[in-house]
């Protein structure tokens, strides 16, 4: 008899050591997330995966599944809050979807659609952020960085490098590169690196590939993010 938790009233099995997110994904239950990726150590910072566990607010990506947990996930209250958290990510940076080459392939945009986000709700910060186009093949647009640290983790945990880091405090957080000049071109980042492809927004782009897949034929143009997420992450969590 395997151990179980319930999510929105449905009984779901889990194994010791699994987080709520891992158990949910393996069982085909989508919990919205941006900073989480099944292949990397969970971070727990974006807070989109916030669920209620026996009445207590927890991040599903970091909180261990345990016998007796009654988890609320797909509720109006939680989805409303997730929508506001997504709106926070939008107003904090400069996200202009129609002009971004990641549109249609962007998880931030897709999760916003999924949560039925129709406006920004909060006043925009319009921060002044730079671009780094120094690298021959990879472009960084800091305007779209949401500090999920996926590139940091991918570089360290998958590529065996240490190209990216998040520096600064509070609202002044920013992505930095591990080179003496501080420029991306002087790091050992390669286009084949996982870190160059992991960005859930359009902050890290591979040059000269932006429109190879036309708008209208992109990942989230025909599928919602919950479906895509479960299709791609299910087996990784199920392993």
């Amino acid at each position: 008899m395997s151990k179980t938790i319930t999510i929105d009233g449905n009984t779901i099995p889990f194994e010791d050591g699994q987080t709520i997110m891992e158990a949910a994904t393996a069982a085909g239950v989508y919990i919205p997330h941006l900073c989480h990726h099944p292949e990397y150590t969970p971070h727990g910072s974006c807070k989109l995966c916030t669920v209620k566990v026996n009445g207590r607010t927890c991040s599903a990506c970091t909180f261990p599944a345990m016998e007796g947990q009654d988890v609320l996930n797909n509720t109006k209250e939680l989805n409303d809050d997730r929508q506001k958290i997504t709106q926070m990510l939008f107003v904090e940076g400069n996200h202009l979807c129609p002009g971004c080459e990641k549109t249609g392939n962007c998880q931030l945009q897709a999760v916003a659609y999924h949560l039925n986000m129709l406006d920004d709700h909060f006043p925009h910060f319009y921060p002044t952020r730079e671009m780094d186009a120094s690298h021959e093949d990879v472009l960084i647009d800091h305007n779209r960085c949401i500090f999920c640290t996926l590139c940091v983790r991918a570089s360290q945990q998958k590529d065996g490098k240490d190209v990216f880091a998040i520096s600064g405090r509070g609202i002044n957080k920013h992505l930095i590169f591990n080179s003496q000049s501080g420029l991306l071109k002087d790091t050992d980042l390669d286009t084949a690196d996982q870190a160059a492809h992991i960005c859930p927004t359009g902050a890290i782009l591979i040059k000269r590939t932006g429109y190879q897949v036309p708008i209208g034929e992109r990942i989230y143009d025909h599928k919602q993010i919950d479906q895509v997420s479960l299709e791609t992450e299910h087996h990784q969590h199920g392993e």
Partner: protein, 606 residues
């Protein structure tokens, strides 16, 4: 520079955990952290340069660009403001000919604001090159200006500028009966360590930092560690490295009791830490001292030396075959490091970002090992309990809050300072003692605590009613509540570590939304929007900072809704920006200032 850094790294045994120590020295020597230093430190400690840059940019006292030879910081606590801080910093800025936030052209002096420096009973306060300045006034500023312009070394400045008073006004159970050096450890070994833990359990002691976790349970859990299910034998226990950390990162604005305890009761505090180490089986302890208390550093080091001399620290303590020592680590200006897991990260030489929990520090703390983190006052109380027994402590206080609480009282009262009260004491009697009159309200527990109005003075100091880590700020009727809330809200936005979205973005949004209302640009829906935002930050933030950052707004909104409403315009919608002010750049470019170059905020007003 190469030799300086090389020596520094060697003194710190090339330990990456000592990164903050090293950076503090570099900052103090060069007035910034030069790029070449970062490269060299990275190489010597075998860490990435990005970790160092991250740390430098995280802590307020480190800088990537040069500060002045004299770096002046003025405390921005609400109590400093109440004592005339703003006009003083303006005066200082004018006298020294340097703008706030800037370095003077000759590089001699820089001036800026800083979060509460823990001198609220003797403000307006500040720091010069990290050393505390108290009771600042215009004559002192004139004096400081002269000293700086003559470029007189800091050690030749007159002592009275750095005078820090204890101001113990009302000693109680702990403060009036200091224990003899070594007596807690002697009692514990005589009684037995397990039995002593039982006494601490019996005393009902709960953590004094504010959260109030049961101290005996915490120690017990740490002793058990992650792997074992119950107490293991002494031999197994000794193989497990454990750590004791004293949290002296007293950053909550309005709190200064740990400053006094470390100045005058350091032996008791260190004895409590040593006692904890004996019970849980730790060999290494740390005192994490907030950077603002640099003035205490040398004195505390000599207390540690004295204890080593007396056989109360080091190898074979009291000839019981017990080894333990304590290292002092200085913070560098980050309120978040008062959160225990952020503090541990900082001790490890990293940015102070709170960890995901579970696991908790008692099972995976410093370097992943079981760790007890307790407040200064908790360790002191534990030492006294070891001497006097659990009942001695438990007989005082209330059912759920045993013993006494040491308060730092400041603000509008005639006798600010340190007061120790049994839990259960009413606010009214505290106010009588400290000489407060015409009281509007009190901020209990600092900005992250609760604002209570003058209808609530029969409420009591207790975990079950008004919990506080020690901060108790009195406001009289001449004060404006929204000014207070504004100061606190800006504080949280400044101190948010930025890890999670709700706190990073939310505290800045909260600041904007509150500014909008206070500046008179709020319309009907804006108070509702303010409250919604507060709930979002409170419910979804990663740690205690975010979860309490909206408390100043929430607790005053609940008590004074009319105050917020009265600032609103009587229209249904008001833009978040000033339309006419937004045209200023256009007017400058067009060199026009006629009526046609101005816009009214709303159509009705035209």
């Amino acid at each position: 520079m190469k030799q300086f850094i090389q020596d520094l790294a060697e003194t710190n045994r090339y330990q990456a955990t000592h990164l903050l120590h090293i950076l503090r020295e570099v900052q103090s020597h060069y007035h910034y952290i030069p790029e070449a230093a970062i490269e060299q430190i990275a190489e010597l400690l075998n860490i990435s340069r990005t970790q160092i840059i991250g740390v430098v940019e995280f802590y307020s006292f480190f800088h990537l660009t040069p500060r002045g030879q004299y770096d002046l910081l003025i405390s921005d606590s609400i109590t400093d403001h109440m004592l005339g801080k703003q006009s003083l910093i303006d005066y200082l800025s004018e006298k020294l000919n340097v703008a706030v936030g800037k370095v003077r052209r000759d590089g001699v002096v820089s001036l800026d604001n800083t979060s509460c420096t823990g001198m609220c009973d003797q403000g307006p306060a500040g720091l010069v090159n990290g050393y505390a300045l108290t009771r600042l006034d215009r004559p002192k500023i004139d004096q400081i200006t002269d000293l700086i312009n003559q470029q007189k070394p800091l050690d030749q400045w007159p002592n009275e500028l750095f005078q820090v008073e204890d101001n113990i006004i009302e000693p109680g159970l702990l403060l009036s009966q200091p224990i003899n050096q070594g007596s807690a450890l002697e009692s514990a070994f005589k009684r037995g360590l397990k039995e002593t833990l039982t006494e601490i359990d019996k005393s009902g002691l709960r953590g004094r930092g504010g959260a109030g976790y049961n101290t005996a349970w915490k120690w017990h859990l740490c002793y058990e560690g992650p792997e074992e299910d119950s107490f293991c034998d002494v031999a197994t226990q000794k193989q497990q490295q454990r750590y004791v950390i004293c949290n002296a990162d007293e950053g909550e604005p309005g709190t200064f009791k740990d400053r006094v305890l470390l100045n005058s009761y350091a032996h008791e505090v260190f004895e409590g830490m040593t006692l904890c180490a004996a019970i849980i089986g730790a060999q290494q302890g740390f005192l994490y001292l907030r950077g603002e208390y640099l003035h205490l550093y040398d004195k505390l080091q000599s207390v540690l030396a004295e204890r080593r001399q007396a056989g109360l620290l080091g190898n074979n303590i009291l000839k019981e075959g017990f080894n333990f020592d304590i290292e002092i680590c200085l913070g560098a200006g980050a309120y978040i490091c008062g959160e225990e897991s952020a503090l541990i990260e900082s001790l490890e030489g990293k940015m102070g970002i709170p960890r995901n929990r579970p696991p908790y520090p008692v099972t995976q703390g410093y370097l992943g090992r079981p760790t007890v983190v307790n407040n200064v006052e908790t360790f002191m109380a534990a030492a006294s309990i070891a001497v006097n027994g659990g009942d001695w402590f438990a007989n005082v206080g209330t059912e759920k809050s045993k013993g006494t609480k040491i308060l730092s009282i400041c603000g509008d009262c005639s006798r600010p300072g340190i007061y120790e009260y049994p839990f259960g004491t009413s606010i009214r009697s505290v106010l009588n003692d400290c000489g407060a009159s015409d009281v509007l309200g009190i901020q209990i527990g600092g900005p992250s605590g609760t604002f209570i109005s003058n209808h609530e003075f029969d409420r009591k100091l207790a975990f079950e009613d008004l919990a506080t880590g020690g901060s108790f700020i009195v406001f009289n009727n001449s004060r404006n509540i929204l000014d207070i809330v504004n100061n606190f809200t800006h504080f949280f936005a400044h101190e948010s570590c930025g890890f999670c979205t709700p706190c990073r973005v939310g505290t800045s949004l909260l600041k904007k939304q509150l500014d909008k209302i206070i500046d008179g640009h709020g319309s009907a829906g804006d108070v509702v929007a303010l409250e919604e935002l507060c709930q979002l930050i409170k419910n979804h933030s990663h740690c205690g900072l975010g979860q309490t950052a909206a408390n100043p707004v929430l607790t005053t909104l609940q008590r004074y809704p009319e105050l917020y409403q009265s600032h609103l315009k009587k229209i249904s919608y008001e833009p978040g920006f000033d339309l006419d002010r937004a045209l200023e750049t256009a007017r400058k470019l067009a060199k026009r200032n006629d009526a046609g170059a101005h816009l009214a905020q709303v159509e009705e007003e035209i």
